[in-house]
């Protein structure tokens, strides 16, 4: 957990020195479980800045909303810094126009896992130094292990430290184990075809097509999404099985070689639909086949934007 005062001081410094026009971070939310993304324009406003494990959004999703000429400061964790790198590679913002304040992140708490144990009515959540979380709820006080509350993507995170940040506040954490990341994919792939499909079907059929997953994702910045096309209509518009499955199949596939496994899509979903088992599979394939991980720098092209003759593909004769 980085020192919040150091974080504020740095944000104030870059604003007052005119290095950036705006700093994107979090502020305390109106409900205890949901800190809000916030946009600070003056050093005074920075006093509201907060950073804790309940900050569940990927702030890079806001980057594409600003004109490319704007100088933006952003508080970034490992996944966010990689998303920023990927966006810079895709020409969505010049790197010179960004100042990244990095914070090593030991995982985002999934608020759903808190309310599962405490009930819906939560009054306050306090992170304690011994890796526990003290929750005050209507049903009483709870001391919960932070480890058990982490969002699944965070539990298997490989890059907790910000990459290519301009400054890092807080002590760097040990890198995660890549084997951990593929464990889940391997376990899923080990199931039978029917089991895998049954899981996919059961997850997809809860979808209400609100597109929170799309909007929460920093890499989903298309002006017009494929589901918004009228003609040709790529997949059914409603919540029919084909429509919902089509959406989930293609949303994830469009992230191939671009997804940083931040899990913001899953955290945004109002129907608790699991989605990262799809993107993780694609990420794992990119790692295995092309030795590629997105966002480690802002210059390496993802596999789908390059071609080589010597792919090791089953389609090769």
């Amino acid at each position: 957990m980085p020192d919040i005062n150091a974080l504020k001081a740095e944000a104030k410094r870059i604003l007052s020195e005119g290095m950036v026009d705006i700093v994107i971070g979090f502020k305390a939310g109106d409900t205890p479980l949901h800190p809000q993304p916030a946009f600070f324009k003056t050093p005074d406003e920075v006093d509201q800045l907060v950073y804790n494990a309940l900050c569940q959004n990927n702030l890079a999703t806001y980057l594409t909303r600003f004109p490319k000429t704007q100088k933006i400061g952003m508080v970034v964790r490992g996944c966010e810094s990689r998303s920023v790198n990927a966006l810079v590679f895709e020409g969505q913002h010049p790197r010179e126009g960004l100042y990244l304040i990095g914070v090593p992140c030991d995982g985002i708490i999934d608020w759903r896992k808190i309310v599962e144990q405490t009930g819906e009515e939560v009054f306050s959540v306090i992170e304690q130094s011994d890796n526990t979380v003290l929750v005050e709820a209507k049903s009483g006080f709870f001391t919960l292990e932070k480890e058990t509350l982490l969002h699944e993507s965070c539990a298997r995170c490989i890059h907790p430290n910000p990459i290519s940040a301009d400054v890092v506040i807080g002590e760097l954490l040990p890198e995660g184990d890549p084997a951990l990341a593929c464990e889940k994919v391997a376990a899923f792939a080990g199931l039978s075809m029917e089991e895998r499909h049954a899981w996919f079907r059961q997850e997809a059929e809860r979808c209400i097509r609100c597109y929170a997953c799309r909007e929460a994702c920093p890499m989903c910045y298309c002006e017009e999404c494929f589901v918004d096309h009228i003609s040709p209509r790529w997949t059914e518009s409603g919540t029919t099985p084909a429509g919902m499955q089509g959406w989930h199949i293609v949303r994830a596939f469009h992230q191939t070689g671009r997804c940083t496994s931040c899990g913001a899509c899953e955290r945004a979903c109002p129907m608790d639909i699991k989605m990262t088992y799809l993107t993780e599979k694609l990420n794992e394939d990119m790692r295995r086949k092309y030795n590629f991980e997105v966002g480690l720098d802002a210059t390496t092209a993802p596999p789908f934007s390059t071609v080589t003759l010597d792919d090791k593909s089953r389609f090769v004769i």
């Binding site: 790529w234 099985p241 084909a242 004769i317």
Partner: protein, 146 residues
């Protein structure tokens, strides 16, 4: 399986260099094979494949030019990367990867497409109809709210 499988053939317009083969594909393709001619396999968006799958295809065959013979230099190898990954990915969620096949044709080849299609059809017949992923035929309306 008693029914003949429904197949979709995505064909690059350059890959069948022999006029006789192209004419066969254009005019004598069996009824269970739906032809979608594309200017290059590189033009095939994975969404096309999804469309075929959701339209009820039991198998999808893509025929393109040999890697170094692409009319547009690299269209086919770009397609290879994407479509291979896409078929792998569909396999992950319930559409067997053997149902999607990429066929490379040499400009010198003659009379291969017929044999390959027959072999592919036999393979799909052995697999049986695709039944996992939902097709556009309405099963029911409305997800959790049906």
């Amino acid at each position: 399986m008693s029914e003949t499988p429904k197949l979709v053939l995505f064909q690059c317009q350059w890959c069948l260099f022999a006029p006789a083969d192209q004419e066969w594909v254009d005019t004598q393709l069996p009824e269970n094979i739906h032809l979608a001619k594309v200017p290059c396999t590189g033009r095939i968006n994975p969404l096309y494949l999804l469309n075929a799958v959701q339209g009820g295809a039991d198998g999808v065959m893509v025929s393109g030019c040999l890697p170094e013979q692409c009319h547009f230099k690299t269209g086919n190898i770009a397609a290879r990367r994407q479509l291979e990954e896409f078929s792998d990915y569909l396999n992950h969620i319930g559409y067997e990867q053997d149902r999607i096949r990429f066929l490379w044709l040499d400009l010198q080849d003659r009379g291969i497409i017929q044999k390959e299609l027959a072999a592919f059809e036999a393979q799909i017949t052995a697999l049986g109809p695709a039944h996992n992923l939902a097709t556009r035929a309405a099963e029911k309306v409305g997800g959790v709210n049906a």
